[in-house]
Amino acid sequence: MIWEAILLALREIRRNVLRSSLTILGIVIGVAAVITMVTLGKGATLQVTSDIAKLGSNMLQVRPGQGFRGPGGTRSTSPPLDPKDAEAIANEISGVVAVAPTASQNLQAIFGNENWSTTVTGTNNAYFQVRNWPLKAGRKFTDAELSAGASVCILGSTVCQELFGGQDPLGALIRLRKLSCKVIGVLESKGQSSFGMDQDDVVLVPLRTFQRRIAGCQDISAIFLSVKEGFSTEKVRLEIERLMRERRRIQPGSEDDFHVRDMQELVSTLTGTTRLLTALLAAVAAVSLLVGGVGIMNIMLVSATERTREIGIRLAIGAREREVLIQFLVEAVVLSLLGGLAGIAFGLGTAAFGSRLLHVPFVFDPAITLIAFLFSGAVGILFGFFPARRAASLNPIDALRHE
């Protein structure tokens, strides 16, 4: 019986190809849009959180200037950091595991005919630990190289790729401005940061090498450090702030001219942002769902005249109101189901493609899928069913005469 009804509905759907396909299209668009948007949004959120986990959430950064708290951003008048600040932090503050002072400059790296503009960072071996960044090949700096300021470097994977292609870079000499230095290692790829920056576009050299041979000064642009397991990041941060105020002789009442950036803070800011983004995408998707719904509504209302006549014919040859309605309901359900399933397939397909394109993980969200499906289904059924209900309550002859 129900099978028969479904067969009849399919026949009816095939008979009105244009109307059916427009209705289905409306549902497909709505469902697919919601699924795509939400899936991508969730993927991006996950990406950000895992990126930050990769950064190490127990990492603190000390930088000169006021950071991104004030509207002025980094104040150029703030004095740079000193290598001794790093030593002081390492020696005087408990709960600090590794301290990596860094100094950076953008310049050309040259190998043979290849040259590539990159960031050269001088630091020490603590950097690998703090940034949670292992080597793919080669080795770290030796103590001798660090203290002597030897001409050695470790390449980020982007730089390695750009300069050497598939060749083995270990032992090769590359030129950084006037400094010719030997490649002793290659870093694991970290990929893009959440800000869209390529973290692998970097060359590491011993800090002393950088100071003497590249920058020509002692200035430090940032100190990276790890907080020991079991210590409160917040407490360590406060202690560092006190120590630095003391060292930089900041009067009580004056503002800091440096900042300690806590990754935890970044985590919450970024997840907040991506959550907002997801909400925004969901809103866009909801609009498309609505548009799809309005499309379905239109089709159904436009075809109401024809349907009313059809209902009149059915009533005239002996169909009961109930039978006509069940038939139209089955038809609307079948139509919505077809559209919904196509929408899910299409939406997941687009989402999978989009997530590959945007390099975010593909996160399937069954709840949203179900909601989009039910909503479009409801719209399809509602607007398929209600005009039919009105028509079926007419006298057969009035339904037949309907214009």
Binding site: E310, I317, G318, A319, R320, R322, P396, I397, L400
Partner: protein, 235 residues
């Protein structure tokens, strides 16, 4: 449904002072102005009259597609006005076959499927539906046109599909509003022969509206309408 088949003397269809008024107040049109009418089982009745005299209105009420404004319509002794919508639908389904003046076929639907339609509501299996519909289409000379949709058929062919649809259920009463209006003379005569045969051999009761005297001549009884009233009723 309780029907009184036992008494052949009782009319199958009885109108008592049936009126049908369209509109209201000053704009009121009395399409039927008080009709008394009795039709017996096995009758073959032709309704004639000028256009606008209320023939179609009368047929619609006979076919339970419309209700009288006042008066009573008894079918098999049953007061049709007192029946629920569903009961009226069942009456149409089981006892009546209707051929509309404007055919009223489903668009984009093959002739065969159009003819099948009434059988669907009778819960008849797909195979049996097909067999019976093919038989009905053959009866009206449309063998080979089963797959064609109304837009691919001439007016005459559509009319014959409409007749086949009314016949396919083997109704007790066939109500036909100008069933030969779109047919050429030869076709008209063929259809009338068919109706006569069904009337004679199966006792099919036929009420038919027509303009043409030679078509009306096939009937045993001719009722003439004028201005919503019966002007003449004779054999």
């Amino acid at each position: 449904m309780k029907t009184n088949r036992a008494n052949p003397l009782r009319p199958l269809i009885e109108f008592k002072q049936v009126t049908r008024v369209y509109g209201s107040k000053q704009a009121a049109v009395w399409a039927l102005a008080g009709i008394d009418l009795q039709i017996y089982r096995g009758d073959f009745v032709a309704i004639m009259g000028p256009s606008g005299s209320g023939k179609s209105t009368c047929m619609n009420i006979l076919g339970c597609l419309d209700r009288p404004t006042t008066g009573s319509y008894l079918f098999h002794g049953l007061e049709v006005g007192a029946l629920s919508r569903d009961q009226q639908a069942l009456l149409r389904r089981h006892y009546l076959g209707f051929v509309f003046q404007g055919f009223n076929l489903l668009n984009r639907t093959s002739a065969l499927e159009n003819v099948e339609l009434p059988l669907i509501y009778r819960r008849i299996s797909a195979k049996e539906r097909r067999r019976r519909s093919q038989w009905a289409l053959e009866l009206v000379g449309l063998r080979g046109w089963e797959r064609h949709t109304p837009s691919e058929l001439s007016g005459g062919q559509q009319q014959r599909v409409a007749i086949a649809r009314a016949m396919v259920t083997n109704p007790l009463v066939l109500l036909a509003d100008e069933p030969t209006g779109n047919l050429d003379t030869a076709r008209s005569q063929q259809i009338m022969e068919l109706l006569c045969t069904l009337n004679r051999e199966r006792g099919l009761t036929i009420v038919m509206v027509t303009h043409e005297p030679d078509i009306a001549a096939y009937a045993q009884r001719i009722i003439r309408f004028r201005d919503g009233l019966i002007e003449a009723d004779g054999h």
